[in-house]
């Protein structure tokens, strides 16, 4: 603990206490929803209506507005989970454990979306639903990583041990992330190389780029909302007998 200033540590301790977090989540969620809609609606309008059709791909490229943000999220959430796993292991922070395990189903959801939308995009573009190239296959493996984390957590009855186990697994599994990300550069594949994420000079038109970035933002906010909801459930499950839950129930009744 000594490497962290006392004030920061106190803040974490307070936020990390379950009832405080539970109340805080309730407070934040409405604002997050507003922000989500502010990003989503212009994003969808810009992407589906305003942006011109691609000169090569026609309208099918509009799948990009969900495929790419979802694929990004699938990687981003896993990295976040690994970080939270590290925090949970080093500082024994319960809240990090809860956030980690709550992220798994959402990450799996985004991975699934990336796979399905990619497949649906691949049919008109490449003429096939699926090719066994490095990026596609490794994204499929990422789905298994997410499912493995959820399965391991479910299999261990003592939830404290389960959270430790999952933290270790999340940290170890993070080695696959660079493989997925760089697969297009390491192996020549059918899949698009980095077009958007080359930040210095994105090779995509600005009218297509802006909705894409809006959608990416919307998905991030969505993640925040969903993970808070799931974390609330997880906290309740883990601390069903705690005093603060009893108080909560009494206030409701």
């Amino acid at each position: 603990m000594s490497i962290i200033p006392a004030s920061v540590s106190r803040f974490f301790h307070r936020t990390a206490s379950s009832p405080h977090f539970y109340a805080l989540a309730d407070k934040f969620i409405p604002w997050l929803i507003v922000l989500f809609l502010l990003l989503l609606i212009p994003g969808l309008y810009g992407g589906l209506v305003m942006a011109p059709a691609d000169y090569q791909q026609g309208d099918s490229y509009r799948i990009i507005y969900i495929h790419v943000p979802a694929a990004w999220m699938s990687l981003f959430i896993y990295v976040l989970m690994a970080i939270m796993g590290g925090i949970a292991l080093i500082w024994h922070m319960k809240l990090a454990e809860v956030m980690l395990i709550s992220s798994a189903p959402i990450g799996a959801g985004f991975t699934f979306i990336a796979l399905v939308t990619g497949s649906l995009w691949g049919k008109p573009m490449w003429g096939t639903w699926w090719v066994w190239d490095a990026r596609l296959t490794s994204e499929l493996i990422l789905l298994f990583l997410y499912l493995g984390i959820s399965a391991l957590y479910g299999a261990i009855e003592d939830k404290r041990s389960a959270a430790r186990a999952v933290s270790i697994l999340a940290l170890v599994g993070v080695v696959n992330i660079p493989i997925i990300h760089y697969s297009v550069e390491w192996w020549n594949t059918l899949h698009q190389g980095p077009t958007v994420s080359k930040m210095d000079k994105p090779s995509i038109h600005i009218s297509m780029l802006i909705p894409l970035l809006l959608m990416a933002g919307a998905f991030k906010v969505y993640y925040a909302i969903a993970v808070l909801q799931t974390a609330k459930l997880e906290l309740l499950k883990r601390e069903a007998t705690a005093q603060w839950v009893k108080n909560l129930l009494e206030n409701k009744a």
Binding site: W129, W130, V131, W132, D133, A134, T137, L140, I141, F144, L147, S150, A151, G154, A155, T189
Partner: protein, 224 residues
Amino acid sequence: MSLTQAFLAIIRRDLLLAFRRRAEMANPLLFFVMVVTLFPLAVGAQPNLLQAMAPGVIWVSALLAALLSLDSLFRSDFDDGSLEQLLLSPHSLPVLVLGKIVAHWLVTGLPLLLVAPLLALFLGLPERAMPTLWLTLLLATPMLSLIGAIGVALTVGLRRGGMLLSLLVLPLYIPVLIFASSAVDRAASGLPVTAQINILLAMLLLALVLTPLPTAAALKMSVN
């Protein structure tokens, strides 16, 4: 209650249990998908090769997935004493055991039927072979459960039964594998497959009648 009612009650209970343990239930399916996925990674993205391998890969993977799912057939019943209660039932044990096998197949075999065509499509198996693939899976996966049940029943009392189980069961699976995969192979080349299908059907009927008896006997031995 009557024997039929007991039979149905077992199926109903095991399906309910599978539903309550959803996460575990998905494992054989995931394993199947994962093993199939390993091959393209191992041979590289060579569509023609993958297409030629497809029937073999799908079938070997299905076989291994069935093999590894077998343990769950009697394990939890053995651990929590339900198996003892089953043996003490006045009803015919082979019939009750058949109930368990049917439920097991519904939970582990049937899902393979649903995803296998998808994976076959991804591997590039020609579409005209799909019905045959599906039919062979339909006929052969119950056989995998039926034959495997004997092996699990023999090893359920042992702690380190896993490997032993594979050694016992795999040789028994070989005939199924040969006929099923050759049927798919022929279908992919547009040849008739009636003979193979008929043989599989006959084998299935035989297995349905003959395997519950040794399984029941082996269970009795394991519970001692």
